[in-house]
Symmetry: D2
Subunit: 314 residues, 4 copies
């Protein structure tokens, strides 16, 4: 199945005009599509829970380098349990650690804030990209507007299940037909304020094949043709078990069209590298296709996103 | 009000015997008091939600050094928006960052896993403390057992409100009387699997007074006399708006009795530096004293805890 | 004694024209004033050594935060000696560590490469400042051109000794008169290829007073009026026991005139925060005022300088 | 050529007794073999310089992960030149960076201090290994005693040249015969206070073959049979273009015999991963086999060594 690539001019028109949300929630808006969330929406999702079954959508952080993790997360112990010796002071019996990471990329489950991408020197809502500076970080559009909590309805589109394959190939994407198939076959509906999760099976496959050089071997993810649907349905957060852009792509101007049009134009919050295999399994067990989801980004002022542990509850 | 300090021998007996949970959930148990969580408990908490109002219990991470943050978190931009210049390549229009931190301490909202403290060379459940090594981190008792999600009922004990003061003084603690007063006056009940949150007002006060040298000027927190109640009521997670131990204390052997007896003896998960002022305000607005709480630690293998953004929902 | 501030227009003219070395050593030059070094110059310095007495001009790196070290260097042990226990494996008996730092600033002894400052979007030698990028570091003008070794004659101007005071006050600078006084009174001569070291006594004073907020309380250092002399005498490296700019200054355009005119205009290599008190003491003991100096920056490609341990030999 | 492995019992006897320098320079000694340095020794080396030709013995630090650099050095810009835009403030025209690294290992040119290895819970000079702690670093035997400067005579043993091969194979070592051959054929003499540099050609070869997994594919380096000679000749610093231990080895107790016997028993300072190919070339050009060498470790209190840029001068 080949990706149905929109024309580059279409993407430009979507970004600038058709799907553009600049000013929609005021000139000072920093929340973008999180404006589709609401107390009522959260309540509905909460009230849809039937069993209290929780499924984590995060994969463990790996602290080792690999072909898709050229700059690995760091972990150092500041004190540890092996420093204790019998008959020495009790004082030392504490463990503490330092960890640090570049969460953007292809392996850490994280959310992108609206400062992760720019277009022609502008951010979402038309601010100059200089508001995100090397010296001070994201003085606007950091992850903070999301830290009041993303609690809403989640919808999973399990593209391999729908297509009857093991996984969506690198270079292929999850498109409009997959979403519509999920709606017709699984009885779900992508609605305003939802977290839309697209499963390709690629992250689970990495556990089998080992790390993959996504810059060389390509990647799966949402097809950019989904952008109008995402806009129309008022999706709050788009996520998948990939870096959320199909590669390679045919464009001269767009390296990451879903991020570039989505973040800059729509103000779309994106969840990268979500672990969706357990969710897919639970889905099948439950026999129902709606769930509550909680995404609780860390309160990291001036940071362009956050590692997260999204939790689906049935 | 003075802290009613238990005798040191009592603490030792609690740790070793009276409140000791070693083996209670099997010799291989890594979850400790999270065993009090259950699907039914989660469902009950979820079904108690009436309005969908969300209140974050995290304070923003500060990236600057201060008297109580001697080793500040780090934040570096790997790419930023101010590097863009008109008429140059689009490729550069992305922002990425590195952040890293020692989350243990007195300012970052975080959860301690069961490897954070030891006693006489042993961890909770009687394993040698060498399982937490300088070179490899927490090979057991890391934060992973909590990453399936802590979704349960939360109870807030607002000690200053109950006592009619602005805040609990440094050197004073929240004790059994405060919890019982909350139960009788606010109609709450601390039950098996609950997250018990004790508010002292000290973290909010830091916003006014500026950073405080807790090692010199003391700290508030849960009094160790609470430990039997915590054990009896089967509290899953104990949290407060402090580092969760009163300082200074009168003991020769215990620097942090709540952590030392709680973590090592009970297998108690502890939430440090929670931001409870917004929760206290919402409490008053809601006129009800029970809420659902979600704590979703990051999936950090071998790490002794995680920064978190706990979310209360009414 | 007040600083004899040159006019801002003079500084601009120096930078652009009078003292400007762009193209002097070719359009591709990355060495700037290190071109004044030579094999013969090194040999002369080496042959001037009489006793083999070595004096380090570095101060110890401090790993703790203070008012002039807001982002302190980091040091973590990856393995350590306290992890050993009797009768356990030998394998663990190794210590390793991670250290990291922002060396620029006011406490670490370090050398600035020619990418540390820019002027109107240009580097030394007229390259666009974009050659030093957030994502890739200093793709030009990094510290590498100095790593063949700076071995040459050193000259110390001990300004407090010459003026008969304990130290040069913050807000005051070491000027032309001080250098000329050193030449006439101490029989030294600042010549082509020399490392010129200006002592203010301020770094030694910090050991007594504790950390000082240089951004608020000012700083001593070389007066910008020295720049023509530095140019004329063909100084290879300018150093002092300060951050090498007097603060505050009267300019609207120049925050750090010595750095800005020196680095960008002259291609001057600057040694910040050198420890000169031991050197001053040795000076007095030796009764002679010339020495060999070795500065051996680390081979750090794309980095804008290096911490160093400059060694004077008499 | 096979390594002539000493028996394990010999190594133990060397460490404990025959080559043991504990107490030789006092019970408080922290300098070990640097005690062989002297002002006169430095002066002799300085006076042996004929031409002023400088040759760096450091290789550039690599900031990317590879099979022999699993935890790569870090480099982040705190401010950079690409953040400047025409007609904006001059203030931003500065570049600063953070770099950090684990220098021990197989690629960074660095010196080991006497806290890098332990034996049975003891350091060199019989102190408990607990003086090097996870929480505080090397409270003894850090790199500081070397920061007064290592300026002395250097001797290069170019083993491949002497053997008429391109490089010494992994698994093979540079042994006594190589050193004696260098002495008889090249007219050098290894004497008290010298820096002895052994070239295998392996680091240069890495530039051709790419990174090698030394833990799997083995390593070259000094054979442990050299230890008595090193002791007898009173070598101050032993260095090579390897990690300084041959691997694999036949011992059950020694993973790194040269480090373990050398550092702990002799108090030997070791220079790892020196770049010796340029030195070998210069050697051939000069037709003489003695040189002055300067090793100037950074002043890093509590750190177990330092990256360095050793400079040979002919």
């Amino acid at each position: 199945m080949a990706v149905n690539w929109p024309g580059q001019d279409d993407l430009l028109q979507w970004l600038d005009k058709d799907l553009n949300n600049w000013g929609r929630w005021g000139t000072d808006d920093q929340k973008g599509t999180l404006n589709f969330l609401s107390q009522q929406k959260a309540l509905n999702a909460i009230q849809s829970v039937e069993h209290g079954v929780q499924v984590s959508c995060a994969r463990p952080v790996e602290f080792s380098a690999s072909v898709d993790v050229p700059r690995p997360p760091q972990h150092f112990m500041v004190s540890a349990g092996d420093t204790y010796r019998p008959d020495e002071s009790d004082e030392r019996e504490v463990a503490m650690d330092y960890f640090g990471l570049i969460f953007h990329g292809h392996t850490v489950t994280h959310i992108d804030s609206l400062s992760h991408f720019f277009w022609n020197g502008q951010t979402y809502n038309g601010r100059p990209s200089t508001v995100v500076s090397t010296a001070e970080g994201a003085t606007e559009f950091d992850v903070m507007p999301s830290t009041g909590g993303i609690v809403t309805k989640g919808v999973l589109v399990d593209a391999p299940l729908l297509r009857g394959v093991d996984y969506i190939e690198r270079g292929d994407g999850v498109g409009v037909d997959d979403v519509l198939a999920a709606e017709s076959e699984h009885g779900v509906k992508v609605e305003s304020g939802d977290v839309l999760l697209l499963r390709t099976g690629q992250l689970g496959r990495r556990s089998i094949t080992g790390p993959v050089d996504v810059w060389k071997d390509g990647s799966s993810g949402p097809s950019p043709e989904l952008l109008p649907l995402i806009h129309e349905r008022e999706v709050a957060v788009l996520g998948s078990d990939t870096g959320n852009d199909v590669g390679p792509n045919p464009y001269s101007k767009f390296t990451n069209p879903v991020h570039q049009v989505g973040i800059v134009g729509l103000g779309l919050w994106i969840l990268d590298n979500a672990w969706l295999d357990d969710l897919a399994d639970e889905y099948k067990r439950q026999g129902r296709w709606e769930f509550m989801i909680s995404i609780l980004p860390l309160k990291l002022p001036t940071v362009t996103g956050s590692p997260v542990n999204p939790m689906a509850i049935f």
